[in-house]
Amino acid sequence: MLRKREKSSITFNMAPMIDVVFLLIIFFMLVSTFASAENIPMEIPNPERSLAENVKIVDRVVINCRTTQMSPDDESGKAVYSIGPNRPESLESISKRLAAARSANPKLKVIIRADKRLRYEHVRAVMSVVAENEIEDMSLVAHVAGLDG
């Protein structure tokens, strides 16, 4: 007796593709740390064998100090200051806001996040403002040491 030949339909096996896609999603979900809005992109100092620690600091104010200068010798460059992700403001304005924040929270800590190309005088000015407001706890932002040290 002759057996009727069965029709084989062409099917697209999606299982490996779904496997790979899920693997990619899991990878991205694990490695993604959503950048804080207060960390404005800039060139952060990268000292040799940095001792900078990636610790969580509460009750903090981040002062971003950016520069418009291309090199330390460029005297036409200006420093641009801002508190966290807010728009740039003058040092007087920053001082007033620090005073208000300090009166609300005496344990306030200040994090100075300055561009590495900035002239020292510009960062020094921020430190003076912080010291005038009697805030002792200050941290400087630098890159954490990599695997190469």
Binding site: N39, I57, A114, A131, S139, G146
Partner: protein, 167 residues
């Protein structure tokens, strides 16, 4: 499943209303249970595209602890110990170069890397220790990068009393 006898089946068919009969007929037809994967794949691809577009790989940032004097740097009492004053000045060595000078010491280190060993050697000398104040006095025009490099070097040399000075 246990099979019913022919009389039972006939009785059931007679009891059934036209509606239930139609319903049963429908159930009898074998429809394969298919899991519709399309929405899941849609969502999965959306997630994948979101993560691959928003992810930017950045180097981790950390904090170097520092303390500021309470009254804007004006000394209240005279310091009992002579501090180690490290002067950071710009130099014409390469792009944005710098040079170091240490007050009262002739063989000053050339770089922040050398400053670590230099400070450790000073700590071993009589009259000095880890608690000896280290003042980093940079000129206004030196790059912030070099100041942070020297601060990090002082921390590496286990200095416990580091501060910023003015030139």
């Amino acid at each position: 499943m246990r099979s019913r006898g022919p009389s039972n089946r006939l009785q059931t068919m007679m009891d059934a209303t036209p509606h239930t009969r139609r319903y049963r007929r429908k159930r009898k037809g074998k429809s394969p249970l298919v899991l519709n994967l399309a929405p899941m794949i849609d969502v999965t691809f959306l997630l994948l595209i979101f993560f691959s577009v928003t992810t930017t790989f950045r180097r981790a940032e950390g904090f170097l602890a520092a303390k500021l004097p309470k009254d804007a740097g004006r000394p209240v009492v005279a310091m009992p110990i002579t501090p180690i004053i490290v002067r950071i000045e710009p130099a014409d060595v390469g792009f944005g170069g710098y040079q170091l000078r240490v007050d009262h010491f002739v063989n000053a280190p050339a770089t922040a890397g050398e400053l670590v060993g230099f400070l450790r050697e000073i700590h071993d000398q009589p009259g000095f220790s880890n608690e000896t104040p280290v003042v980093l006095a940079a000129t206004p025009d030196v790059a912030w990068d070099h100041v942070v490099a020297c601060w990090n070097a002082a921390l590496r040399a286990n200095c416990n009393n580091i501060s910023f000075g003015r030139q």
